[in-house]
């Protein structure tokens, strides 16, 4: 796919075309149930017209959620208010909400914080798109969007659908893989919550030997109710398949939802290659608590590329379970921790077979009192010979109020594993800034340039439009950080 076609899948095209066609449906549904109850779980399942097994899965998950304690080993979650979680769901076919509740998921533009509005302005995001990103614009019918997205890949035998439809249309395969082997509801409190209330997300199935030529992107799809809050992504790459999946949004994205608990499950078959890229820039009222995991078979390569820019508290540790000989995982991530932000992010890799390898590169930028914590877990199973792993965590701190920490946990049961861990915490040096200034570049731009250079090894792995926006955001974020 060439750049021009790619652009058509971008949010610009979606926004400008959709309102004139049938893609736009202004029929959000908002439940009258408040808080998270068993009744709400049943209601969601009813509205979605789900098969019994999914309903049972939701109820089982809810029971686990009620029993599981909050994790206490990470950031402070004591202010997380489950009763305030709205639980939007999307009806199939027709609007269910009462009059006045139609479109209830939308924010009013007037309510969107000025800070977010001015950021949109400075990023040069068009008016219509600003409302969209602020959760105050039109909503789109997911099925119509997926239909256009999969046009080019369906002839390859690739299934690319929204998760709700997939449950109905591909029940055998979804039932087999959905929160069974990879991320079961019992994994943690948030995965249990997710199992009960999930809505939206993507289902990708790539048959053996098929190489999907362009990244599957859902850049613009975050505005229908429930999407992005409890969305579920399930990617299955069969033997020798190759696929790249990109989701998220680098522009600031305002939501009233106080919490997001997405789950991503990836099955990388033998000799397959899967790259999952996500950029998150939620508004800072959001607790971002996702569970993302891949099971990687022999000689397969799993790549995670991620950036967490927004939200208040983030807990995110993409996990690769290397179960087959010669499997490889790469985890590349950028965290930006600004005022009031705690980024507790990292990577988990389980080397459960011989000759498996992993590379983890984590870059964080802390300023204005932000906290970035790298939390890593590296496990090498007994009898797994020839394992190699390198971990590199670099942080830049731009003032004395901010903090960067590294908490690597290693559990190595094999004698010959080659494991490297390097960590660095640096400040932007006055000398470097002066050097750039002496070439006519002002101090703010000099700092932004240095920071961009710092994250460049990861940004270069991003699709172009994300990379451009990411660089602009970093530039804005770093303004005023030198005297």
């Amino acid at each position: 796919m060439d750049g021009k076609v790619l652009k058509e899948y971008g949010r610009d095209a979606a926004l400008r075309k959709a309102p004139s066609g049938d893609a736009m449906l202004n029929v959000g549904y908002r439940t009258r149930e408040h808080g998270l109850t068993r009744k709400l779980v049943e209601e969601i399942s009813d509205v979605k017209n789900e098969p019994d097994w999914m309903r049972a899965h939701r109820l089982k998950s809810f029971a686990i959620f009620e029993k599981k304690p909050l994790p206490t080993w990470g950031p402070d979650l004591s202010r997380l208010d489950f009763s305030a979680i709205t639980g939007f769901v999307r009806p199939k076919g027709k609007a269910v909400g009462k009059e006045g509740e139609v479109g209830g998921a939308q924010n009013r533009w007037e309510d969107v914080p000025d800070e977010i509005k001015s950021t949109f302005e400075r990023l040069g995001i068009p008016e219509a798109e600003r409302k969209f990103l602020a959760g105050a614009g039109a909503q789109y019918d997911s099925e119509v969007l997926y239909k256009s997205l999969r046009k080019n890949v369906s002839e390859l035998g690739v299934i690319y659908a929204d998760m709700d439809s997939a449950v109905r249309e591909y029940p055998e395969i979804v039932r087999k893989y959905f929160m069974t082997k990879c991320v079961p509801p019992s994994d943690n409190k948030f995965s249990a919550l997710h199992g009960a209330f999930w809505s939206g997300g993507s289902f990708v199935h790539v048959p053996a030997g098929v190489k999907v030529p362009q990244p599957l992107q859902i850049y613009f799809m975050m505005n229908y109710p429930g999407f992005g809050q409890f969305e579920h992504t399930l990617i299955i790459a069969e033997e020798g398949a190759q696929v790249q999946y990109v989701e998220g949004c680098s522009a600031p994205h305002y939501t009233r939802d106080s919490m997001h608990a997405a789950v991503v499950e990836i099955f990388a078959g033998r000799s397959s290659r899967v790259r999952y890229t996500s950029i998150q820039n939620w508004s800072r009222n959001v607790y971002n608590l996702n569970t993302k995991r891949a099971i990687v078979q022999s000689d397969a390569v799993m790549e995670w590329v991620g950036g967490t820019l927004g939200s208040g508290v983030t807990m995110l540790y993409p996990c690769s379970v290397l179960v087959g000989k010669g499997a490889r995982a790469e985890h590349l991530s950028i965290s930006l921790a600004g005022e009031g932000q705690v980024k507790d992010t990292g990577a988990k890799v389980f080397h459960m077979a011989p000759n498996t390898s992993s590379k983890i590169v984590s870059k964080s930028i802390c300023r204005r009192g932000g906290v970035a914590r790298y939390r890593g877990m590296l496990k090498v199973g007994a009898g797994c010979a020839g394992v190699k792993s390198s971990v590199r965590c670099d942080s830049i701190i731009s003032d004395s109020k901010s903090r960067a920490e590294t908490i690597p946990v290693m559990d190595v049961q094999s004698n010959d594993a080659a494991i490297g861990h390097e960590a660095s915490v640096g400040r932007i040096s006055e000398e470097q800034v002066f050097y750039l200034q002496s070439r006519g570049i002002d101090a703010d731009e000099a700092v932004a340039m240095i920071v961009r250079g710092f994250i460049e090894p990861i940004v270069r792995e991003l699709p172009l439009e994300y990379a451009v926006e990411m660089n602009r955001l970093i530039e804005m974020e770093m303004e005023g950080s030198v005297g």
Binding site: S429, E430, E431, Q432, F434, Y435, L436, Q437, S438, R439, G440, I441, D442, A443, E445, A446, M449, I450, R452, G453, F454, I455, E456, P457
Partner: protein, 242 residues
């Protein structure tokens, strides 16, 4: 550039105490002096390093230099080639230099046009084009860093280039390259203020004035013969003749 009664302090410590220096367009001035005499501080203070506070007066192309921020001084046409240039990882030399070009010249240039300009200047300096895509000075050897400074000088075309020990760490061949390059810069109309320990780099450049610094002051000024004498007789000779 017209400097009068320049004092430079780092915190409470006075490093430069009362320097006068007048450089006309197209002139080449040389500052010599032993380590610690304040040569580098003088150049850095003129370029606006935040570590120093400077008082006195420094007019540059009609502007009050000391009231300008470092990047404004650069945009006014002042350039400093560092003795130890910084490395900035991940920022490609070409994209950095294009930003600097746009900032200094105050006009846009397309990427292909800039690329052409850059490759032409790199060829003049005998730099491999692969350096353009590398991080700014990232992993460059000492000599490569000096060439990178020369390249930046060539692209930014300042009115006055201050060169801090550009010749240190260069072999004889590289020295003669640099010397020829500087001659061209001068012919194009730029002034040069050169800090050096050795007069070798000056051969062919025919400096208009040579100044000797000690203890933060200029203790002797003369024509190019002064540099030759210093090389021949050492700094001790100055004491006897001053």
């Amino acid at each position: 550039m017209d400097v009068k009664g320049l004092n430079v302090r780092a915190g409470d410590v006075e490093i430069i105490g009362g320097i006068d220096l007048a450089i006309k367009p197209g002139e080449v001035h040389v500052i010599m002096g032993q380590n610690g005499s304040g040569k580098t501080t003088l150049l850095h203070a003129l370029a606006g390093h935040p570590k120093y506070s400077a008082t006195g007066s420094a007019r540059f192309c009609g502007k009050d230099l000391l009231s300008l921020k470092p990047h404004e001084r650069a945009r006014a046409g002042l350039f400093l080639a560092f003795q130890h240039p910084n490395e900035v990882q991940g920022v490609a030399l070409s994209s950095f230099l294009r930003r600097a070009y746009v900032a200094s010249h105050g006009k846009e240039i397309s990427v292909p046009d800039f690329e052409r300009l850059l490759l032409e200047k790199m060829a003049l300096l005998g730099m491999d084009r692969k350096f353009a895509a590398r991080g700014l000075n990232e992993g460059f050897s000492g000599g490569e860093k000096k060439r990178s400074e020369m390249l930046q000088l060539a692209v930014l075309e300042p009115k006055l280039a201050m060169l801090d020990e550009l010749d240190s760490g260069l072999d004889v061949d590289a020295l003669s390259d640099v010397s020829g390059f500087l001659e061209n810069i001068r012919k194009a109309g730029a002034s040069l203020l050169i800090v050096t320990h050795y007069s070798r780099i000056l051969r062919g450049l025919k400096p208009d004035a040579v100044h000797v610094m000690r203890g933060g002051k200029i203790i002797a000024s003369g024509d190019s013969r002064l540099a030759d004498k210093l090389e021949e007789k050492g700094y001790g000779w100055i004491d006897k003749s001053v």
